[in-house]
Symmetry: C2
Subunit: 216 residues, 2 copies
DNA sequence: GTATTTCCTAACCAAATGGTCAAGTATAAA
DNA sequence: TTTATACTTGACCATTTGGTTAGGAAATAC
C-alpha cells in the first residue's frame, strides 16, 4: 500500500494482463464514452474477473486516463518530415494516407478521441493547449513557409489540418454510416484505397497541388 | 393506460413541459451518449422532477428515440434545390454554409448524431439504409449530372458529400479542440465566417469550381 | 526448502441508476 | 358544481453500478 508503483515498473507477469485490460477498456470507452462505459463489460471483454481490473488500475477514472495516454502517443505520426525539403504534395499525401490507415487499422483510437472531444475534453483539455497546440504550430509553420515560397496556394493552414483530420477520422468515427451509404459490408482495403485516392487528389487540388512530381 | 396517445396529440398544457424535457435530453444525450446519459441529469437540466420525465416519455429508450426523431428532421436542409439549373458553385456554397450555420447554432444536434454513429447506430441503422441512403442517392445523382455536363470536375460524389459533412460537423463535434488550437474563447460569428470562407473556397477548388459566377 | 511479494478471485457493500406509486393539483368538460 | 382527465411530485423500490475485502495461488527472493 505504501508503494504500489513497484509492480508497475516492468513486471513481466502482469504486463500481459494489463495489456489485455487496456485494449478491452479502449474498445469499451471508444464505444460508450467514459460515463457510458461499464467496468463489468471491460472485464468481460478482457475475459477477466472484475476485481483484476481494479487491482491493476484502481478506478475507472485511472483506467480511462491510462487508455488515453496509451492511445494519444500513436496519434499524429507521419507529417514529421519537416526539416527536409520534401515536396508539399508528397508530405500531404503521406499524411493523409497515414491518417486513413490508422482510421482503418484502429478505429477505436479515433472514436475514443472523438468521444473525449464531444464530451468537452474534460481530461485532454490541458493536452490540447500544450502538446497538441505545439504540434499544430510546428506543422502550420511548415505550411506557411511553403505558401510563402509559392510551393502551394495560400490557405488557412490550421483549417487545412482540421479538414484533413475531419475527413480522415470520419471514416473511423462514422464507419457505420459510410458503409451503409456506400452499400458495403466492411471497411476493407479496397474501400480504404478508393477513399485515400479521392482524399489525396481532392485535397491536393484544394491546395493547388498535383499528386505526383509534375510541378505546376 | 389503455390509450396514452391521447395526451400526445396536440395537448397544449403538456407541450411546454415536453419541449423542455426534449431539449434537456438532447443536450444530455449529445454530451454523454445513450448509456452515459442520466435521467436525473435530464430532469435537472429541465428543472423538473424526475417522474415528470417518465410520465411524458416512459423510458430512457423512448426519450432517446423521441430526441433522435425530433433532431433528425432538421438535418440536411439546403441542397434541396435540385430541379432548378442553379450553378453547382452556388448550390455547394449554400450547402456548406448552411451545414456550418447548423454546427454553430445547434452543436448538440451534431454531437447527438455523432454519438449514435460512434456507438454503431443501434437506433438509426434502418434510417441510414433507407431515408438517408435515398437522400444521398438523389444528391449524388445531381452531382453526377453536373460532372457529365462538364460543369464540375469528375470526383467520387458520395465521398465529396462525406467530406463536406465531416469538415463542417467537425466544428460542432470537436469544438473544444478547434477553439483550443485556434486560441479562441468561443465559436462566434467571426470564427464561423472565417471557417465558412475557407471551406467554401477550398472545397469548390477541389471540385474545379470558382466561388462566384466566373465560369472556368 | 521458507518467506515474501505479486497476482488472482469469489463474495460482498454502499451508492447510484432507471423506473414506479400513490396521493395530490390543476384543467376542462357536463 | 360536479366529474373526469391531464399533469405534477415526494417517497419509494429493485437492480446495477463502481469499488472493496479477505483469503488463496503463483512466482520470486532467500
Amino acid at each position: 500500500m505504501v508503494n504500489t508503483n513497484t509492480k508497475d515498473i516492468s513486471n513481466p507477469i502482469s504486463a500481459e494482463a494489463k495489456d489485455k485490460i487496456l485494449s478491452a477498456a479502449k474498445a469499451e470507452f471508444a464505444q460508450f464514452g467514459f460515463e457510458g462505459a461499464r467496468m463489468q463489460r471491460v472485464a468481460d471483454r478482457a475475459a477477466l474477473p472484475k476485481p483484476n481490473i481494479h487491482y491493476h488500475y484502481q478506478t475507472k477514472q485511472r483506467l480511462y486516463q491510462a487508455v488515453l495516454e496509451n492511445t494519444i502517443e500513436s496519434w499524429n505520426l507521419a507529417f514529421e518530415e519537416l526539416d527536409s525539403e520534401v515536396e508539399p504534395a508528397v508530405v500531404l499525401e503521406t499524411f493523409i494516407r497515414e491518417k486513413l490507415r490508422q482510421a482503418q487499422k484502429d478505429p477505436a483510437a479515433s472514436r475514443l478521441f472523438a468521444n473525449e472531444m464531444i464530451q468537452g475534453a474534460p481530461n485532454l483539455g490541458p493536452y490540447l493547449h500544450t502538446e497538441m497546440h505545439a504540434w499544430l504550430q510546428a506543422r502550420t509553420e511548415i505550411l506557411r513557409r511553403w505558401m510563402e515560397d509559392g510551393k502551394m496556394l495560400t490557405v488557412d493552414p490550421e483549417r487545412l489540418i482540421f479538414l484533413i483530420w475531419a475527413a480522415t477520422q470520419h471514416y473511423a468515427d462514422f464507419q457505420v454510416q459510410v458503409l451503409a451509404l456506400l452499400n458495403r459490408a466492411q471497411f476493407n482495403d479496397q474501400v480504404a484505397e478508393e477513399t485515400a485516392n479521392f482524399l489525396v487528389s481532392f485535397i491536393l487540388r484544394g491546395c493547388g497541388l498535383t499528386p505526383e512530381g509534375e510541378t505546376r
